[in-house]
Amino acid sequence: MSTVHVTPVRTYLLVFFGLMALTFLTVGVAHVNIADHLPGQVTDAINDAVAMAIAVTKATLVVLFFMHVWHSARLNKIVVWASLFFILILFAFSLADYFSRGWLGVPGK
């Protein structure tokens, strides 16, 4: 007996075309200074934020559908979340260190 979930080809094609659309979108907005088109004082980093939001969306589509996490066992989902959690620890603690180094006048530095 096998209980594999077989996803319809249609779903895979939809995900593929979604990924294509997001790829062209990210290339398109990369050449636009988004801050110029928004009211008020918007940080220049808005371009970075938009590019990363699109990349995260694309990665999520790949992980959920191409990597079958949507229909996967709960244990696999826990491993996926755990890997994201460890990346979060790596970034949060390292960046808290690097970004705050100039805040205090440390003698001899």
Binding site: V4, V6, V27, A30, A51, M67, A73
Partner: protein, 218 residues
């Protein structure tokens, strides 16, 4: 007898094929969690150095070829589509289809590496390889090399993963044609598929980080 399809049997320490497959998938995911941390160090280095040298990263990013990067992104996402269709064929136990989709995936993966090779050669010709011969229009600050150190480390490690992936796919083709995979047991195809998609996910982040960020200033 010997020439007939011989799907890998159920290993004696599993209750059934479902349990065997779920164990294999879980093992692959644990490996990929480790891979996330492996690449994570490089992404962290990129973040810290880009924060430290934003102008040099924007300058470096503008040296890369967006149309080639875009073409490679399309090729790689296309290869993920053919890979997932190979896994689907395996789930349905269709041996020839598995081999065909794996062949398509290998062709696209090879195309990606060929384009990457042309890009590396272009960087070599234009003195953009970090080291004594490095020269970039716009600055003499050696810190401008940092972007290219990370560019070569990140895309190089990614390309190495692709080469390993191509080797694994080549290994699967004769197994598929021999009928080693069945709807019950195609854990090899599923596992290599997960690995291939992971490599795609890494590129989904590398493409905007290396090629696109800082373009709006140019």
């Amino acid at each position: 007898m010997a020439s007939e399809a011989r799907p890998a049997p159920l290993a004696h320490h599993f209750d059934d094929y479902d349990q065997q497959r779920e164990s294999a998938t879980l093992g692959m995911w644990l490996f990929l969690a480790q891979e996330v941390m492996f690449f994570g160090g490089l992404f962290l280095a990129y973040t810290v150095y880009r924060w430290k040298y934003p102008a040099w990263f924007a300058l470096g990013s503008n040296q890369l070829d967006v149309p080639l990067g875009l073409a490679n992104t399309i090729v790689l996402i296309g290869s993920s589509l053919t890979m997932v269709l190979a896994v689907r064929a395996a789930q349905l136990g269709k041996a020839r289809q598995i081999a065909g989709w794996i062949g398509a995936t290998m062709a696209l993966g090879t195309a990606f590496l060929v384009v990457k090779g042309f890009e590396y050669h272009h960087k070599w010709v234009h003195h953009l390889i970090p080291g004594a011969g490095f020269h970039i229009e716009g600055t003499t600050d050696p810190a401008a090399q940092t972007f290219f150190v990370l560019y070569f480390c990140m895309t190089g490690l990614h390309a190495l993963h692709m080469i390993v992936g191509l080797g694994l796919l080549a290994f699967l083709v004769p197994k598929a044609l021999r009928g080693d995979f069945s709807a019950e047991n195609h854990n090899w195809v599923e596992g290599v598929g997960l690995y291939w998609h992971f490599v795609d996910v890494i590129w989904i982040f590398l493409f905007p980080l290396l090629y696109l960020l800082g373009r709006h200033h140019a």
